[in-house]
Subunit: 103 residues, 2 copies
C-alpha cells in the first residue's frame, strides 16, 4: 500500500538528495515537493513521469501509485466507495472494448 508521497521521499533519500535538487529538476519550488511528499498537494502526471525518469524507476509502477492515490482520495469518504470502484471497472472495460483505437 504505497502512496506516491512516501515513495518519492524514499527514492529521494536513498539518493541522498535534498528537496531543492529534485524540485529544481521538476522546475517547481521545493515547498511544493515537500507538500507532495506529505500528501498535501497532488503531483501532476508530467511530474510523475519526470520523477520516474530522474530516479530511473519503473514509470508504470509510479503512475499506478499516483492514479490510485487520486482515485482513493476522491472517494475515501464515501460509504459506497467499493461498490463504485467495482462499477467503474466495468465501465472502463466497456470503454476499452468499444473504442479500442481511440486517442
Amino acid at each position: 500500500m504505497e502512496s506516491l508521497g512516501i515513495k518519492i521521499k524514499q527514492l529521494r533519500e536513498k539518493h541522498m538528495l535534498p528537496l531543492r535538487t529534485v524540485a529544481a529538476y521538476l522546475d517547481i519550488d521545493q515547498a511544493i515537493l515537500s507538500k507532495i511528499e506529505h500528501g498535501h498537494r497532488k503531483a501532476s502526471r508530467e511530474q510523475v513521469v519526470k520523477l520516474a525518469e530522474y530516479f530511473k524507476t519503473d514509470e508504470n509502477n509510479l503512475i499506478v501509485i499516483w492514479l490510485s492515490d487520486k482515485l482513493a482520495y476522491e472517494i475515501q469518504d464515501e460509504v459506497l466507495a467499493k461498490r463504485a470502484l467495482k462499477a467503474a471497472e466495468k465501465k472502463v472495460d466497456y470503454l476499452k472494448k468499444s473504442k479500442p483505437l481511440a486517442k
Copy 2:
C-alpha cells in the same frame, strides 16, 4: 452499464416531465440538466440525492452510478486504468480499516 445521464433521462421521460420542471426542482438552469443528461457536465452529489428523492428511486444506486461515472471518466484515457482501480480498492480497504470511525 448505466451512466447517470441516461438514467436520469429515462426517469424523467418515464414521468413525462420536461427539463424545465426537474431543473427548477434542482434549482438550476434547464441547460445544465440537459448537459448532465448528455454527460457534458457532471452532477453534484447534492443534485444526485435530490434526484433520487424526486423520482423516488434508490439513492444508493444512483450514487454508485454517479461515483463510478466520475471514476471511470477520470482514468478512461489511462492504459493503466484497471491496475489503478485495483490498487485504489486496496487503499480504500486500508483506509476503512485504519480509521473506521472517521467522519
